[in-house]
């Protein structure tokens, strides 16, 4: 489909710009970097205010305790997690780099010993970690973003850096909407980034604390996220809002037999007694050693939180007979699965688009920063690409529908969103077909959709924006049919 065309267009633009700026070392280094980046896995940054659970979420996604990485004297460094054959780390400052360092696991996080003479002002730590989950993505752990009502200069610069380095952003917040989201509202005004907030997802990351730690708090959090997803103000900021109990998710991914055994012991004691014990963290830690030693209880509390312990013991009582089923229940309830699905649909499947977007942003930056004869033409071509690419048109429509700028009748709006790939970009998702649907069935569905939307595009009762939206949907349908035919 056109995805490859957009990518090839952007690729050609990048190479052309590289030729143009051959004699400018800075610009050509920048462009070479982006040519390389275009081929790399998708970079997803995890950003947010302090103590919101950024590292916890990374651990939950990776499925192992990898974050935070402890390096002395690296406070404001971005930490990159990428797939690698052996665990090792590289440290970068603005001027120097130290590579191939050993990574050791300390208790629950990683530790890197910087060799003597390593510069103090590290700004990047790249960790290679052998894991399947990082095959298609690079995760970036970022320093905390300031939350004050007026974004602090440092907070802003961190979001700027995030915008520069990452192709997509998971923005973590305790609550939405709220002051924690202020950093998201600083949107650079360029034609490319104005197209739509297509690269941001808001994660309500401490969902287990919502509702004051009630056992059904997680369900409430999910409903809350659903409600915010429909909120026009949130739609203008991000693609999606997902509630995740980071601690539970991490625990679900990393729980092992000893912890399970301890939890099972806890679950085995008298119900009333257990409830008493789990009333508060103080009671839990202050309880008798008869069931579990203090260190075990402390470990459980650190891993699961009191809410997690309550949930886990309840689950065990309800019949989670082994560590595997408990883990899967915890993961299911934590909302991690939805988050991963969302990441897959909105980020990984749109990899080409997001990469193209990043490349176009970088290109735009160079063309603006160093204008020269010939850059005008490239700028025009860039504008042409941004304006002409159907993916961007789909994204713009998506943003318009999300923010309520363009409204379609309710039934049509849902179908339009599906057809332009809001729920996923593969043909069967767009057509809402079964996963087992054959090519012929898909073709029929697609042709029907095309016919319907051709009519909508001509609907005299629609206003200009609505007809435009319908035409974009028609183009999407044609694209699908072309893909099916090809």
């Amino acid at each position: 489909m056109t995805g490859t065309r957009l990518e090839s267009q952007v690729w050609a633009l990048l190479n052309e710009a590289h030729d143009l700026y051959r004699d400018s070392p800075r610009a050509s280094r920048w462009l070479e970097h982006h040519v390389e980046r275009f081929e790399e896995p998708l970079r997803i940054a995890v950003a947010g205010p302090a103590q919101v659970g950024k590292s916890t979420l990374i651990n939950a996604i990776v499925g192992e305790g990898v974050a935070p990485v402890e390096v002395d004297g690296a406070k404001d460094a971005f930490v990159w997690y990428q797939d690698g054959a052996v665990p090792r780390a590289a440290l970068h400052s603005a001027h120097e780099s130290v590579t191939d360092l050993a990574v050791t696991r300390l208790d629950r996080w990683l530790h890197v010993d910087p060799p003597p003479g390593t510069p103090e002002d590290l700004n990047e730590i790249v960790v290679d970690w052998p894991t399947r989950t990082l095959r298609h993505t690079i995760l970036i752990d970022t320093p905390a973003v300031g939350v004050s009502a007026t974004a602090t200069p440092t907070g802003q610069s961190i979001m700027d850096r995030v915008a520069r380095e990452a192709d997509a952003v998971l923005y973590l917040a305790r609550r939405a909407p709220g002051t924690e989201l202020n950093a998201l509202r600083i949107i650079p005004e360029t034609p490319v980034s104005r197209a739509a907030p297509v690269h941001t997802m808001v994660v309500l990351s401490r969902a287990d604390e919502i509702g004051g730690g009630r056992i059904d708090g997680l369900l409430a959090a999910k409903q809350l996220a659903r409600r915010h997803r429909r909120d026009v103000r949130m739609r203008a900021l991000c693609l999606n809002v997902v509630a995740v109990a980071g601690l539970l998710a991490e625990a679900g991914r990393t729980i092992r037999e000893p912890q399970y055994a301890a939890l099972a012991n806890l679950a085995a004691i008298d119900r009333g007694e257990l409830d008493e014990l789990l009333l508060s963290t103080d009671r839990f830690l202050g309880g008798a050693d008869s069931v579990a030693t203090l260190s075990v209880r402390q470990d459980l509390l650190n891993r699961l939180g009191i809410v997690g312990v309550r949930l886990a013991t309840t689950l065990i009582r309800q019949g989670c007979g082994d560590v595997g089923s408990l883990a899967s229940q915890l993961v299911r309830r934590s909302g991690l699965a939805e988050l991963r699905e969302s990441i897959r649909q909105l980020f990984v499947e749109r990899r080409g688009l997001l990469k193209a977007r990043s490349a176009l942003l970088a290109l735009e930056f160079v063309l603006r920063a160093e204008p020269r004869p010939g850059s005008d033409r490239l700028m025009a071509e860039l504008d042409h690409t941004v304006a002409g690419a159907h993916e961007f048109r789909e994204l713009r429509l998506m943003a318009a529908l999300r923010s309520g700028r363009t409204r379609l009748p309710a039934a049509l709006e849902a179908e339009a969103q599906r057809l332009i790939g809001m729920e996923g970009t593969d043909v069967s998702t767009r057509l809402a077909a079964d996963e087992q649907a054959t090519g012929a069935q898909l073709w029929t569905l697609g042709a029907q959709a095309l016919d319907r939307w051709l009519e909508h595009a001509e609907n005299p009762l629609f206003n200009h924006a609505q007809q435009g939206a319908a035409r974009t949907v028609v183009r999407s349908c044609e694209g699908m049919l072309a893909e099916l035919a090809g």
Partner: protein, 607 residues
């Protein structure tokens, strides 16, 4: 009963505000004064959305009064106080906060259960007022539940800052899972300026494993920010559970007894401790506020070194100097220009008369003065008159120009600066010149012609008569007679021509004399006029310069007086401001000296 010291200070502060015509502060302080005298203790429960403010109130009173939910639930502030029977009302007032001067306009009584499930039509009402019978409240505790600090974005109606002025103590509710945020700290820093009693309740200690560490960090952050707040960790969940199960131990664990003890202590000692403390802070804040404009005014006084009067004075002096410089300049200029004018005018007149003379010469080279004299004389008079007029006209024009030039160099230039009388010529120019007399040119009379003809013919007759007598002819014959006639005719002609020439030269000389006389006389007149103009202009401009000088001196005098007056006025004003500032400083010192009974440190909560 003796009036408490703090009340004195507060009243003085109010008077100081009134003296500075700060009606807004007066109103605010009077409100605060009434409030501090009131035995009730108003506690504003604030915090970011979702920290459990409403839950905390519910737990404290052990009653589901305030709406509790997962999202931002509280949408209107609720004022909760004691009542014998449970009652509730939604109130719309002209101001968001209760004001003793302004009566609420609308009160809608609602069942109390309805409030617990959330207020509908939140935008319509400004607050809810709830009364319930609770032992805790009977002593006069009033709790005010508020929407989240950052709820403005979510619900379109955040916490109205005016509420802070309406309370005796601020109870900030914060989640024990995290440190105090910048927003919370900023709010507290704002609140302590008018309401120094601040308690931070760390809620949700039941689910926060690190709450002790967080509490410690928060205490440090508060101390760093200079906020004298007590941190009390609580757990609303445990308190509610304790109340349900009537479990004393759990109640103690919830931390609420500490919080309630603290509030009750504040309530009991309100007049001894809280009121002086608040009065001291608020008086300090207000006095500082009052000092700012005073200081600015003093600074402005110092800065305004050159007042209007002083600048006027220096301006006048400058003008005087200018004038002095000018007077020597314009006199020189006048003399120069006048001598230029006089030479130019003379040259012009000479030029014009010479032209006339040339024309006269041309005429008399050909014409017979005797024949044309009668027409010539008027022509000459006319031409001379014309030349004189042109010359004189030019003189007048040039004089005007000179006058204008000089006038322009004066600061107060007026159009009609040259007196027209300067150009009056006393007498007729032409009267002084004698009339052109017709020169005695004589006439070629008939007898003279006969005589001349005979004298000429005589030679011819004799010459040719002698010659022809040789041929035998008589002396007088036709030949000799013919020759005599010829010769006579010629001599007659010659004589006529020479007489004409003489006449012409006579006429020329006469005219030249006349013209010369005219020139001398007229140029003398012109020179007189020019001198006259010069004198008049000099007198005129001198007078004008004197006038100017006089007026400048006058303005300089008044400016000097004004400057002196200004200086004394400024000194007086400065002293006044200094005195006011001094008063305010004393007030500030008195406020600071108010004996404040320190609030009891919160007891360490038993683990």
């Amino acid at each position: 009963m003796m009036v408490p010291l703090w009340l004195d200070v507060l009243d003085d502060t109010i008077r100081a505000c009134a003296a500075q015509s700060r009606a807004d502060l007066v109103h605010q302080l009077q409100h605060k004064r009434a409030q501090l005298l009131d035995p009730k203790l108003r506690v504003l429960v604030v915090g970011e959305a979702g920290q459990g403010k409403s839950q905390l109130i519910n737990a404290m009173l052990n009653a589901p009064i305030c709406a509790v939910g997962d999202d931002s639930t509280t949408s209107v502030p609720s004022v909760i106080q004691h009542a014998d029977t449970p009652c509730a009302a939604l109130v719309t007032g002209p101001t968001a906060v209760p004001d003793r001067d302004v009566a609420a306009t609308e009160r809608v009584a609602v069942p109390i259960e309805q409030l617990a499930s959330g207020v509908s039509g939140a935008g319509k009402y400004h607050r809810a007022e709830i009364g319930i019978p609770r032992e805790l409240l009977t002593a006069g505790l009033v709790l005010i539940d508020t929407p989240g600090l950052d709820a403005g974005w979510a619900n379109g109606g955040g916490l109205d800052a005016a509420w802070v002025g309406h309370t005796d103590a601020v109870l900030l509710v914060s989640d024990a899972n995290r440190q105090l945020s910048d927003v919370e700290l900023a709010f507290l820093a704002y609140a302590i300026r008018t309401c120094p009693h601040v308690i931070v309740a760390l809620n949700k200690t039941d689910i926060a494993p690190q709450w002790r560490k967080v509490a410690e960090e928060n205490r440090e952050r508060l101390a760093d920010a200079g906020i004298p707040a007590t941190v009390i960790p609580v757990s609303a969940t445990l308190r509610l559970l304790a109340a349900r199960t009537n479990n004393r131990k759990l109640n103690t664990e919830s931390g609420f007894p500490d919080l309630i003890a603290r509030l009750q202590h504040d309530l009991r000692t309100k007049s001894e401790s809280l009121a002086p403390h608040t009065a001291r802070t608020i008086a300090g804040t207000v006095v500082e506020q009052l000092c700012v404009p005073l200081r600015a005014r003093r600074f402005a006084l110092d800065g305004a070194l050159v007042s209007n009067a002083a600048s006027d004075l220096s301006e006048a002096q400058r003008q005087l100097d200018d004038l002095r410089r000018l007077s020597s300049r314009w006199q020189n200029s006048l003399a120069d220009r006048i001598s230029d004018l006089s030479s130019d005018i003379e040259h012009d007149l000479r030029d014009r008369t010479r032209k006339i003379m040339r024309r006269v010469d041309e005429v008399f080279d050909s014409a017979d003065p005797g024949a044309v004299w009668d027409t010539f004389q008027p022509w000459l008079e006319e031409n001379l008159l014309e030349a004189a007029e042109a010359n004189y006209g030019w003189l007048v024009e040039r004089s005007h120009w000179i006058a204008e030039k000089i006038a322009a160099s004066f600061p107060g230039y007026r159009e009609s600066v040259i007196p027209e009388s300067a150009f009056r010529i006393e007498h007729d120019v032409f009267e002084t010149v004698a009339d052109l007399e017709k020169p005695n040119i004589g006439r070629f009379t008939f007898s003279q012609k006969v005589y001349t003809g005979l004298r000429g013919s005589y030679g011819g007759v004799v010459m040719f008569g002698l010659a022809t007598s040789l041929a035998g002819l008589p002396l007088i014959n036709f030949v000799s007679l013919g020759a005599g006639a010829l010769f006579g005719g010629k001599s007659l002609k010659d004589e006529g021509e020479s007489r004409l020439l003489r006449r012409q030269s006579l006429a020329k000389a006469a005219v030249q004399r006349h013209v010369e006389d005219f020139f001398i006389s007229f140029s003398k007149d012109c020179k007189d006029v020019i001198r006259q103009v010069q004198r008049k202009l000099r007198d005129h401009f001198s007078a004008m310069a004197e006038d100017l000088q006089e007026s400048i001196l006058e303005s300089a005098r008044t400016a000097k007086q004004a400057a002196d007056r200004d200086l004394t006025e400024r000194d007086r004003h400065d002293r006044e401001l200094q005195r006011e500032l001094e008063d305010l400083r004393r007030l500030h010192d008195r406020a600071n000296a108010l004996a404040v009974v320190p609030a009891p440190a919160a007891k360490a909560v038993a683990a």
